[in-house]
């Protein structure tokens, strides 16, 4: 897979067979900035190094504007964000704007913060990646429409206005964008465009654009991969090995094949697929397939044993060094006070509400369509091609909106894509096949937020200053042994393991962060906010503990060490001020604070809690301050902070994946508990006014909530929660 992926990066699709820039295309009178599309509306493969705004916007004769998004929308609202960027410069009729997923062209859709060599949605980079290119696309399209109108009316370009989907001239002449699209398509593509100055923005930074997909998502008409109704489509339920690392030995499907609605039962790379006319028929038949597994190489430990192994590894110190500043040994030897703590984090499942799925169909023309939540399209295209035995240019990816994701749809081994294509292939390509996991399949299939342990130690001088900090982390690497290893593992350190800790923000003169990377067949993956889901909890809980040991206010203690980190300091001060940090809390209420940077956005949160009869926190209110640079859609920023807080809160309070002799104990939402409405605090979001380029908000709302609540729990009970989740017998 590694080789095929690299090959896909290196491949040059060559000159497009179609007119590369705008012009008469299969869509006839559409203006496509500035790049041909196929008759089915999917962007064609164009050669790399193209005009920077090609392939992003299409204006049709009926005035509809279709934007091709390089970023997959899993609910974070990036389609709306990208549409806002285009709209700012294009000034179309907003009611005619839609967004679809674009894929299959790295030159156009490569993720800029990740170097532009791979299309992917992740690392909260969607807005940063789109900021220039989609505004330029909108501006170029608008300029071309104006030029076309100027020629048609024989008037100077400078006298023409274009807004709300209409081009007009003071003489009274006017035409809709759609009416000019064909002429504009035959005109020249501007080699440069001038973007609006911030003072001219109508939409960026305002809440004036209604989110275009709220209506279909409120009336049941939004479609997801699970809803595909292609003619003749079959549904497959899969049987995965019960232990990680086990492989298929043999299976007997004779009973299943005799059942109503069952089409076939086939072997696929990770197990067996039971293919039927519908999901119910597939699930029922799956129960009577008998399977033998080879578990020689399987993980057979229980969670308690894994934790014991991690603790033992932490005692030995990390095998590789991730950060080393000053001389921690010397600092500890002269410390007035030393504090120790160990924090333990479980495996976590993403558990998006739409269980993982994908569908594949081989077409008579030799193209393979693959539907799914394609978070890493270039990789999936290469993998699908390899499984199908065709070239990647024959793979057409249909990017679907997904029912959540939280990182799970960016599977580095393209697991669900492999299963969908392999199942359709095993059926001789006779029908489109959708592989649909059940909730239990989804929860037990791995790709978890890795379990981690942090063994921490701090030294204070006689004035209560933090003079040294040590952290030894133990846990699995997400990037190691994957296509991402080269980019993310440096000198044995997976940056995803230590992000938020190795680059911690406080002015601490002596710092040492080291890491032991463990190995297990249990697969791990990025989970919303990735390393910061545990590093921020460990760091911000421990800093709070140190502040108390030093007899200092937790906010003031942090601010004193953030003098060179103005953006951290600003959000911390803003959250504290808005939460009334220095005023007394109501009776029975307690506050805690935390601040963290993730993916270049800065978030501080103050949680206000009470403690319930079970000794668990009830979080009443969260005040959140965020600096994400320019807030393109402020309401979207607020929505992502609200959602990030709820997502993170549920996890720290209640969620964990555990193993019993290798088997995953949890299977559904009864045993893997997540946040419910009765546990959701009221959330107040304050956005820092900024002129910095925009950064992401999908993930950065998650990291601070855990430690903010844990620190409030300490205020309430004097007890530190060191083993997650809170609802965990080891904490009582």
């Amino acid at each position: 897979m590694h080789d095929s992926f690299l090959a896909s990066l290196a491949r040059d699709p060559g000159p497009s067979r179609r007119s590369f820039l705008v012009g008469a295309t299969a869509l006839g009178s559409s203006l496509v900035v500035g790049f041909a599309v196929k008759s089915d509306g999917a962007p064609d493969a164009a050669k790399p190094g193209a005009n920077p705004f090609v392939g992003y916007v299409q204006i049709a004769a009926d005035d509809t504007v279709t934007i091709y998004s390089s970023q997959m929308d899993m609910g974070q609202g990036i389609y709306h964000g990208i549409a806002t960027l285009v709209q700012e410069e294009l000034e179309a009729d907003w009611s005619k704007v839609t967004v679809v997923g674009g894929a299959g062209n790295t030159a156009l859709y490569g993720n800029i913060p990740f170097g532009g060599k791979i299309q992917m949605t992740g690392g909260s980079s969607g807005t940063a990646s789109s900021w220039e290119r989609y505004r330029r696309a909108g501006a170029a399209a608008r300029a071309m429409l104006i030029t076309a109108a100027a020629e048609r009316w024989n008037v100077p370009v400078g006298e023409i206005k274009a807004e709300n989907g209409v081009v007009s001239h003071p003489s009274g002449k006017s035409a809709t964008y759609g009416a000019l699209a064909a002429s504009a398509a035959n005109g020249p593509v501007p080699t440069s465009v001038t973007l609006k100055q911030p003072g001219e923005w109508k939409y960026i930074g305002n809440a004036t654009l209604a989110r275009y997909d709220s209506r279909p998502k409120s009336n049941g008409t939004q479609r997801y991969t699970i809803d595909l109704r292609e003619p003749g489509i079959l549904t497959a339920a899969v049987i995965h090995p019960p232990l990680f690392g086990a492989t298929l030995k043999s299976f007997d499907a004779s009973k299943a094949k005799a059942m109503k609605g069952v089409v076939d039962v086939v072997e696929i790379p990770r197990g067996v697929a039971v293919v039927a006319t519908g999901m119910w028929e597939a699930m029922k038949a799956r129960e009577v397939v008998s399977v033998e597994w080879d578990d020689t190489k399987a993980e057979k430990r229980s969670s308690g044993e894994i934790a014991a192994d991690y603790r033992a590894a932490a005692e030995k110190g990390g095998e590789v060094v991730a950060a080393n500043v000053g001389d921690t040994d010397a600092a500890f030897s002269k410390a007035a006070k030393v504090i120790d703590a160990r924090y333990e984090f479980p495996y976590l499942a993403h558990a998006p509400l739409e269980p993982i799925n994908a569908a594949a169909r081989m077409n008579p023309d030799g193209t393979l369509e693959v539907w799914g939540g394609h978070q890493m399209p270039d990789l999936y295209q290469a993998v699908a091609a390899k499984v199908a035995g065709i070239t990647p240019d024959k793979v057409i990816l249909r990017v679907m909106k997904t029912g959540g994701g939280f990182g799970r749809r960016a599977s580095v081994d393209a697991d669900i894509i492999v299963e969908a294509v392999a199942t359709a292939k095993a059926l001789g390509w006779k029908a489109p096949v959708k592989v649909q996991w059940t909730r239990e399949d989804d929860m037990r299939a791995g790709r978890y937020r890795p379990a981690f342990i942090h063994k921490m130690k701090a030294a204070l001088d006689e004035n209560g200053n933090l003079i040294a900090l040590r952290d030894t982390l133990v846990g699995q690497s997400i990037a190691k042994s994957t296509v991402m290893e080269g980019a993310l593992v440096h000198n044995g350190v997976d940056v995803l393991s230590v992000e938020g800790m190795a680059n911690q923000p406080y002015a601490i003169p002596n710092l040492r962060v080291d890491l032991t990377t463990t190995a297990s067949p249990v697969s791990v993956l990025w989970w919303r906010a990735v390393g910061s889901t545990h590093t921020a909890y460990a760091l911000e809980s421990f800093i709070d503990e140190i502040a108390h040991a030093a007899g200092k206010d937790p906010v003031a203690f942090r601010l004193a060490m953030l003098k060179d980190k103005p953006r951290h300091a600003a959000v911390l001060q803003l959250a504290a001020e808005k939460a009334g940090w220095n005023s007394p809390t109501p009776a029975g209420r307690f506050r805690g604070v935390a601040v963290a940077e993730a993916f270049h956005s800065y978030v501080a949160q103050v949680a206000e809690i009470s403690v319930d009869n079970n000794g668990l926190p009830r979080v009443h209110r969260v005040v959140c301050a965020v600096d994400c640079g320019i807030a393109v859609n402020p309401d979207q920023v607020r929505a992502q902070m609200e959602g990030g807080i709820g997502f993170g809160l549920g996890a720290i309070l209640k969620s964990r994946i555990t193993l019993d002799k290798g088997k995953i104990v949890q299977g559904n939402f009864d045993s893997y508990d997540v946040l419910r409405i009765n546990e959701m605090p009221s959330v107040e979001v304050h956005i820092v006014n900024s002129s910095a380029p925009p950064t992401g908000v999908g993930e950065p709302g998650v990291p601070p909530i855990g430690p903010a609540v844990a620190n409030a729990m300490f205020e309430a009970t004097g007890r530190r929660i060191r083993i997650l989740p809170f609802a965990n017998s080891e904490n009582s």
Binding site: G75, S214, R215, P355, G403, G643, F647, N678
Partner: protein, 151 residues
């Protein structure tokens, strides 16, 4: 098997033990009702049976026979309209996958209780999971819809 679905009565030739969820989705193509857990643990498949919110994944077609079934596609009337309009205006959905269930459950709540308290909302909706945690806006939208219905 005879069912009355979104106001239309029809005969269906399906196994009696087949969950309504899969009849709706796979046999009838009404895919607005979502699968999330199959165990009545998430609420994504909430529909109305004789006006009461139930989980379609744990309701067999035999259970639903001769009753009035309403799915998100057939939701109608003043309460439903106000709920959906408020959901849209407050931009409640993120991924949107749970929202059919949330909207159906809220419509049932506001039909029975025109002025729900926060506790009433918790009781009615705590079985409807939202992994995007849009709960903050769901609560605001329920109160807002109640206000609009009162006016």
């Amino acid at each position: 098997m005879r069912i009355t679905l979104n106001g239309q009565t029809s005969e269906l030739d399906v196994d009696a033990d087949k969950p309504l969820l899969w009849v709706l989705r796979d046999d009838l193509g009404l895919v607005g009702t979502k699968y999330g857990c199959g165990q009545a643990l998430c609420g994504a498949c909430t529909i109305l049976v004789d006006g009461q919110p139930v989980r379609a994944c744990q309701t067999t077609i035999a259970d639903a026979a001769d009753r009035s079934i309403v799915t998100i596609e057939g939701l109608s009337g003043k309460v439903a309209e106000v709920v959906q309009a408020t959901w849209t205006r407050l931009d409640v959905p993120q991924c949107g996958y749970c929202q059919s269930g949330q909207v159906v459950a809220t419509t049932a709540l506001l039909t029975a209780n025109r002025k729900p308290t926060d506790t009433d909302i918790d009781d009615a909706l705590s079985g409807n999971l939202c992994r995007c945690s849009t709960y903050h806006r769901i609560r605001a939208a329920v109160h807002e819809a109640a206000k609009l219905l009162e006016a």
